[in-house]
Structure formats: structure tokens, C-alpha cells
């Protein structure tokens, strides 16, 4: 303490430092440690105080004196950065509701600041515009949209407050039209702007800064924006047909009288559901359909047009599969004899 007294003191009082209390500040001073380093630098509202001291000899004595203290206050820098957290296109399906795109907002300024969030679903460079459902703040901070848990954002009502260097994940939820083509993309953006104000870098808002100083627009113009893409991945169907021949002699030769069992496997891939899937297959020439030989998923189907899914009309079999979700398969078999 004596040394401190002799050499004067430079004080550093900011919101962050005050919390440490007197003892902690002295301890830090002794170790000459730096205060917590922020990306944007010294916290807004911090006082920078300079005092010089001098010692000299005069008239046979040593005298120590101090200068006047000069104090200047660090003003608030307004800077914000928005990035898309999605690694690439986010796949979705026709008619999907609340399809989320994820963004991360970071306060790159040096003071606590409220940010206004503005989503935009009407952008160029894409194939369609989804309908905006909601903007949701990741209030449980797990990076995943949790319906009913995360807080719905209402502009002007719960604008998020971010301290310097603090980040927040925000979800923009979109509703997808019912009939987009497979591969259609939608560009959705989210902008965040400092509520204190925006403008060209250097624009100043007198007295509007943290701690009573000024607020100054930084290099980001105090606004940030990022975009993400939704990709409609409609369900698609692939049909694979195979045949097994059984001849009357216990072999597998396709001779007259041999029975051919055809297997049709429909595989639905992609995402979502295919509606009204139907399989038809004409009976090959020179063969005859084996009555009541149709099966679906191993269960027999009747040949008549009736309540079950299959029918045979004399020239082809047809099986109506109805709505089939992606990831599923349907297997149809029927038999013919070679004439």
C-alpha cells in the first residue's frame, strides 16, 4: 500500500471490476493482471483515470507530489454479428409447419445492448417463399428448438439483451407450402439491430451509451444479418421387379408350364409422405395370370375390384398402396404361368 501511495494510482473502475470488491482489485493490482479481455475491448462506461507522480530533492529534502487526476470515460461501441448456425441447407417437406432455421447473434460491442430481430422470408436467389410462423429465442440455450419451452420473440416486447461478447441462438420457424417441387430452396434471413441506433460506422448517439457516455456505431453499422436455406426434399418412389421361375420338373427353366413369381418392391425415400401410391403391372405376353396369386406384404389379395387394395382386370394387376411415408417399402407379388 505504501508503494501504491508513493507512485500514485491509476484507477480502473468499470461495472466488471466493481463486482470483485476491494480485496480482489488489490490482489489483481499486485499481480499486474489484466481485467477480463473482451473481443470488443474495454467495457463501455469504464473510467480511464491518469495520475502522474513525481519525487524530487529540494532544500535538502525529498518531496513527493501528485498531478491532477484526469478521467475519461470509455463510450459504448455498437456492434452485432449474426451468423447462420445451420451447416448447410435444412431439409424439410411439403406442408411442414414450424420448420426451423437457426441463427446466432453475438454482441460484438463493449456494452450491454438490446437487439431488435427482423426475419425475412421473401428473398431472391431461391425457388419459393415459405410463410413466416414465428421467431423463437433459445431461452434454455441448448441450441435446439424446443416447442413450448423456448420463448416466442415479440419485437419491442422481449428484445434480447446481450452483454459484451454474449451470444444468443434464435430460431426462425417457417411453414412450407403444400406443393413445392423436390429440391426447391427457400432463403430466409434474420437481421439484428442495436436498439440504441444504427448508421454508418462512427455515427454517435450522445449520452445514449452505457454508463452515461456516448454510443458510437462500430464497423458492423450496429446491424447484422445472415441467411439460411430450407430445402424441400419430397418423397420419391423406386420400384424394383424381380422374377423367380419354377418349372414343372423341379428346376428353374422358363419352359412352358413353368410358374414365374414376380416380386415388386416399392421403396419410398426422401422425406414426407407420398400420397395415393399405386402399382400396376401388365401381365407379360405368352403368360397367364395365376388366379388369386396377388399378395401385399405377404397377405393375399383377391382379384376382384373390392374392398382390398388389389385387383386383376384381365390384362394387368393393380395394387393401391394409399399414402406411404418415406423410409417405408411395400412388397407386391403375383404369379404367372408360361404358356
Amino acid at each position: 500500500m505504501l508503494r501504491n501511495h508513493i507512485s500514485g494510482s491509476s484507477q480502473f473502475s468499470g461495472a466488471k471490476t466493481r463486482r470483485y470488491g476491494v480485496q480482489a482489485v488489490l490482489f489483481l493490482a499486485a499481480l499486474s493482471a489484466s481485467p477480463a479481455a473482451y473481443a470488443a475491448g474495454t467495457l463501455a462506461g469504464t473510467d480511464i483515470q491518469n495520475i502522474a507522480t513525481a519525487s524530487y530533492d529540494s532544500g535538502g529534502s525529498t518531496v513527493e507530489i501528485q498531478s491532477n487526476p484526469v478521467v475519461i470515460k470509455v463510450d459504448e461501441l455498437l456492434d452485432v454479428v449474426v451468423v447462420s448456425s445451420d451447416p448447410g441447407d435444412v431439409t424439410t417437406t411439403n406442408g411442414a409447419t414450424d420448420a426451423p432455421l437457426t441463427f446466432r447473434i453475438t454482441n460484438n460491442g463493449n456494452g450491454p445492448e438490446y437487439f431488435t430481430l427482423t426475419p425475412n422470408v421473401v428473398n431472391g436467389g431461391d425457388d419459393f417463399d415459405p410463410a413466416l410462423s414465428q421467431v423463437v429465442l433459445d431461452t434454455n440455450n441448448n441450441g435446439v428448438y424446443d416447442p413450448g419451452v423456448d420463448t416466442v420473440y415479440v419485437a419491442g416486447s422481449n428484445d434480447p439483451l446481450l452483454t459484451p461478447d454474449q451470444s444468443l441462438t434464435v430460431f426462425v420457424l417457417n411453414n412450407i407450402p403444400a406443393s413445392q417441387n423436390n429440391g426447391d430452396r427457400a432463403n430466409v434471413t434474420l437481421a439484428a439491430t442495436a436498439t440504441t441506433g444504427t448508421g454508418a460506422p462512427g455515427t454517435t448517439f450522445a449520452g445514449a451509451g452505457e454508463g452515461g457516455g456516448n454510443a458510437v456505431v462500430g464497423s458492423t453499422s450496429a446491424t447484422g444479418q445472415a441467411g439460411g436455406f430450407l430445402l424441400v426434399e419430397a418423397a420419391s418412389i423406386a420400384l424394383v421387379k424381380s422374377a423367380v421361375v419354377a418349372d414343372p420338373f423341379g428346376g428353374t427353366n422358363p419352359v412352358p408350364g413353368a410358374t414365374v413369381t414376380y416380386t415388386l418392391v416399392a421403396t419410398i425415400s426422401g422425406a414426407g409422405t407420398l400420397a395415393n401410391v399405386a402399382i400396376t403391372d401388365p401381365i407379360p405376353a405368352s403368360t397367364q395370370y395365376v388366379a388369386s396369386s396377388m399378395t401385399l406384404e405377404g397377405s393375399p389379395l383377391t382379384d376382384a375390384s373390392d374392398a382390398d387394395q388389389g385387383n386383376f382386370n384381365g390384362t394387368r394387376i393393380a395394387v393401391a398402396l394409399g399414402n406411404v411415408a418415406a423410409g417405408q417399402t411395400r412388397t407386391v407379388t403375383f404369379k404367372v404361368t408360361i404358356q
Binding site: 508503494r3 507512485s7 491509476s10 491518469n50 513525481a54 519525487s55
Partner: protein, 157 residues
């Protein structure tokens, strides 16, 4: 114990007071300016020192310490010490004659002679950003009425 401390303080005050009246009161005055880029009419940039009404991280500050012998007899062995404010990263003096401390004023030397301890026990050469205090030792006697100034620069962290 309390009484003893008080009396010690009293002695210290008594010994300092006569010296101050001895006739060479040195005056110290500290000033801070900020460098701002201003456009000249021809579009080129000029750096001007202005009053720091607006300070943001990254701003370059100029600290000026004026000293003056306001008394009637000379002052000698003048040493001027300036702790670097925590929020400032030291970036040099205008004369280069200073010695610095990188450990809160415990030890002093030219910056290229000082080392900083790392947390793992090793050490490295000190850099400008490590400086916690600067000190000028004026090697001439300051006559009555004489004055001068010392200048150092720093960047707002």
C-alpha cells in the same frame, strides 16, 4: 496500537510539510488527448489531437505530463512516475528515455531488459503491452521557473 499508528502518520506529515515549504514546489499537470483522423479539404487524412469527448476501444490516446518548478530554488533528482491505466495498452513515449515496470512497479528497467513470467514458470521478453508503470528520471536540475513536459502514448484496450 491505534495510537501508535496515528503518531507515525503525524511524524510522516510533519517531515513532509517543511520540505514543501522549502521553496521549490514542483507542479505536475496531467492531460489526455485522443488522436482523430480528420479529412483535409483535398481528401487526405490528417491526424489531430483533440479533447477526448468520445473514446472507444482502439482509440490512440496521448498522455501529457507537464512539470514546472513553481518555486524560487532549484529542484534536483526529479523522477516522474506514471502508472499506465488498466484499460490502456502502453505504446511508447515521445523521448524514449523512460524506464518501465512490468510487475506493478516492483522492478524497473529498460523494456528490452525486462522479462515476464509465464504461468508455467518459464519467462519471456517483456513487450509494450506488459508495461504497468513508466518513469522518467530527469538528469538535470530544474531551475526555478523552468518547465517541461513528458509524453506517452497508449491505446484503449
Amino acid at each position: 496500537m491505534k495510537k501508535l499508528i496515528f503518531s507515525l502518520v503525524a511524524v510522516a506529515a510533519a517531515s513532509a510539510a517543511p520540505a514543501a515549504w522549502a521553496g521549490a514546489p514542483l507542479e505536475l499537470k496531467s492531460d489526455i488527448f485522443v488522436e482523430k483522423q480528420q479529412k483535409r479539404p483535398d481528401g487526405t487524412l490528417a491526424t489531430k489531437l483533440v479533447t477526448p469527448n468520445l473514446i472507444i476501444p482502439g482509440d490512440r490516446l496521448v498522455f501529457v505530463v507537464h512539470y514546472k518548478n513553481a518555486g524560487t530554488i532549484p529542484a534536483s533528482n526529479i523522477a516522474v512516475t506514471n502508472p499506465i491505466p488498466r484499460a490502456i495498452s502502453f505504446s511508447g513515449t515521445s523521448d524514449g528515455n523512460e524506464i518501465v515496470s512490468v510487475d506493478g512497479g516492483k522492478s524497473w528497467g529498460k523494456i528490452n531488459q525486462l522479462r515476464v513470467s509465464n504461468s508455467d514458470g518459464s519467462s519471456r521478453a517483456a513487450g509494450m503491452a506488459d508495461v504497468t508503470h513508466i518513469r522518467w528520471t530527469l538528469n538535470q536540475t530544474l531551475a526555478a521557473g523552468a518547465a517541461g513536459k513528458l509524453i506517452f502514448r497508449g491505446v484503449v484496450k
